[in-house]
């Protein structure tokens, strides 16, 4: 395993087109060991293509992807060096889970006993002899995760590993990813759910339309991209708005009469109101959710908008919106509903 700080997965100028579609466009990023790195982007943004190129499945048009400094084709025992879960349902439906894993283990001289070990680890030991075609998506995900752990590899790639899992399974995957990273492994996990990555990842690689949007830590990503907003209610809305504007804040008026203020924090707004003798009925800071930051950043980079998607997402959160997922960082709150197509 590589020492911490050293980059393990590395992409340099990676590009890939399918016909006239640029799936991945001059992508450069590094993934370091010891932390979970989230690979974030809307559906169709090139995450899976990038992962396939790292795993030597797709040939890049330009650039290179390396694992521990070597291209995939130069690895001597690939399954012992990198475990990847790219498609959970990519299993022969008539083959048992045990035989599926056994066939994989044999390619890398991994002993039979190891198959039982990883099946037990993911909780599939009771159904090991059953046909994989009868498995639910969640069970298939568990089987896929088991296959990545067969070779006890130092590098792990997961493409949308929580798809199809129940809440208990999601929690298990979150903890597993962190635990794997905690053991010093390099863990690279893709998702289109910002909120999920906020709970799991430390580092972030964000892409949209195949291009790099950000290569940073989750913390920096939020602080450098959120604008602090304060919700203000007052009986003298118009006068307060003009005073705040004069004090350098930018103010929007919501339909229900409340003001959304940026550029001035809550104490500052309170001071202005006091100085002008304006009564305040509400003064509450609103934190933009990660989901919104992510959408704002990738809105230009989304290929397929849902029918209901507005042309431009507001960067300022709307606290009245019941759908609005608040900052989920550090909270054990259930993940918000999946944001398909960034609708």
């Amino acid at each position: 395993m590589a020492s911490p700080g050293q980059s393990v997965i590395s992409a340099v100028g990676l590009s890939k087109s399918y016909g006239s579609t640029r799936a991945v466009d001059d992508l450069t990023f590094e993934v370091r060991p010891g932390v979970v790195t989230g690979f974030l982007g809307p559906n169709g943004s090139g995450k899976s293509t990038t992962m396939r190129m790292v795993m030597g499945l797709d040939h890049p048009d330009a650039g290179t992807a390396t694992i521990g400094g070597r291209r995939f084709g130069d690895l001597r025992w690939p399954l012992r060096e990198v475990g990847a879960l790219l498609e959970a349902k990519a299993i022969h439906p008539g083959r048992s889970a045990y035989n599926h894993l056994l066939a994989m283990a044999q390619t890398n001289s991994i002993p039979k006993a190891r198959v039982d070990e990883v099946l037990t680890m993911v909780g599939l030991d009771g159904v090991a002899r059953r046909k994989a075609g009868k498995f639910s998506l969640g069970m298939s995900q568990r089987l896929g995760i088991a296959s990545t752990l067969l070779g006890d590899p130092g590098v792990l790639l997961f493409d949308e590993p929580i798809n199809g899992l129940d809440p208990e399974g999601i929690l298990w995957v979150r903890n597993l990813l962190k635990s794997l990273a905690g053991e010093g492994r390099t863990v690279f996990v893709s998702s289109h759910l910002m909120s999920e990555m906020a709970l799991t990842a430390t580092d972030l690689v964000v892409i949209g339309r195949g291009r790099l949007i950000a290569d940073t830590t989750v913390e920096d990503f939020i602080s450098s991209n959120t604008v602090a907003t304060v919700l203000v209610r007052s009986p003298e809305t118009d006068r307060l708005a003009s005073c705040l504007g004069a004090a350098g804040a930018s103010v929007r008026t919501r339909e229900d009469g409340a003001l959304l203020v940026t550029g001035l924090d809550a104490p500052g707004i309170g001071d202005v109101a006091l100085a002008q003798g304006v009564a305040l009925h509400e003064l509450s800071p609103v934190q933009a959710s990660l989901e919104e930051v992510f959408m704002e950043l990738t809105s230009d980079a989304v290929d397929y908008h849902g029918q209901t998607a507005p042309e431009n997402h507001p960067v300022h959160p709307d606290p009245q919106d019941p759908q609005d997922p608040q900052d989920l960082r550090g909270r054990g709150a259930p993940a918000p509903p999946p944001v398909e197509e960034v609708a």
Partner: protein, 298 residues
């Protein structure tokens, strides 16, 4: 479901690298762990032995009504190998499925993402399906041969004198049967198994080229069944020079013991030349498959 978070340690391997022997073990596990493999192999054996008994029985019953020309082409070996008309398609389906079932489920990407050389995967698949088909096809060919001769014996067949020619067969009043020691019989039975072996390799290679079950099977059946029909509608001056090159006629040439002259394909190649040609077809398909597998995105 109970789960844990600690990954048990796997002792590292510092020596060597994932190679052909590893991949062959894996491909054997994959082949033996799906039911379709065993169904196909049982069909090959049962069809081989069953059709041998059936056809030998019918032909023996016809002997007394046959004219001289028909008696001359009475071929106890070929009757016993009738099952290969059916088995060739079963073997083709199995050979193609070994590859295309992985493309259908997407598991080919799992296979290729755990081995560093794609050609190792191709070689291992060909070796495993080839070895399995060769064993089953040879066992079937010889079992069919002995069953066929036993049926002829039951009809009162007599062995031809050693070194006897076709003429002796024509003059013979009784149904002839042959033993493996008779001219060409051992070779014909052996090559009957080799024919299925080469077809399995061909189908497997087609599977890698087309990556689609229906497409690969259609192409395989097309080569064996449809191509001869197309060639047969060409003017006979043209078709005569092509027909002996068709895989199905190469197979026939490999297993004939009486005459190489046919009314539909002119004079066929000698058995060993026919085998070499069919092997060449398979090699060309395998080289194309290997080239495409390495070049294409998985």
């Amino acid at each position: 479901m109970t789960t844990t978070l600690s990954v048990p340690v796997l002792p590292a391997l510092d020596q060597g690298r994932a190679g052909l022997a590893n991949q062959v073990r894996s491909e054997w596990t994959k082949l033996r762990s799906v039911r379709s493999t065993w169904i196909c192999l049982v069909i090959v054996f049962v069809a081989g032995v069953g059709l041998s008994a059936l056809v030998s029985n019918i032909e023996a019953g016809q002997w007394s009504h046959l004219g001289l020309a028909d008696r001359a082409s009475f071929d106890p070996v070929r009757f016993s190998q009738t099952g290969s008309f059916l088995s060739q398609f079963v073997v083709g389906v199995l050979g193609a499925l070994v590859v295309t079932s992985e493309y259908a489920t997407g598991s080919i990407r799992t296979t290729l993402a755990i081995t560093s050389k794609r050609t190792t995967v191709l070689a291992a698949k060909l070796l495993v399906i080839g070895a399995v088909i060769l064993v089953v096809a040879e066992v079937t060919a010889f079992a069919s041969f002995f069953v066929g001769q036993a049926v002829l014996l039951a009809h009162g067949a007599k062995a031809l004198p050693p070194g006897s020619s076709i003429l002796t067969q024509i003059r013979s009043a009784t149904i002839p049967y042959v033993s493996l020691a008779d001219g060409g019989a051992l070779r014909a039975v052996f090559l009957s198994g080799v024919y299925l072996f080469l077809l399995a390799l061909l189908a497997c290679a087609i599977g890698f080229v087309l990556r689609h079950t229906a497409g690969a099977i259609a192409a395989f059946v097309g080569v064996l069944l449809v191509l001869p029909l197309i060639v047969s509608v060409l003017p006979s001056s043209v078709s005569q020079s092509f027909e002996k090159y068709l895989p199905s006629n190469l197979g026939l040439a490999m297993t004939l013991v009486t005459t190489r002259k046919t009314d539909f394909a002119g004079v066929l190649f000698t058995p060993w030349t026919a085998m070499a040609l069919l092997a060449l077809y398979a090699v060309v398909a395998m080289v194309l498959a290997s080239w495409l597998l390495v070049r294409r995105d998985a």
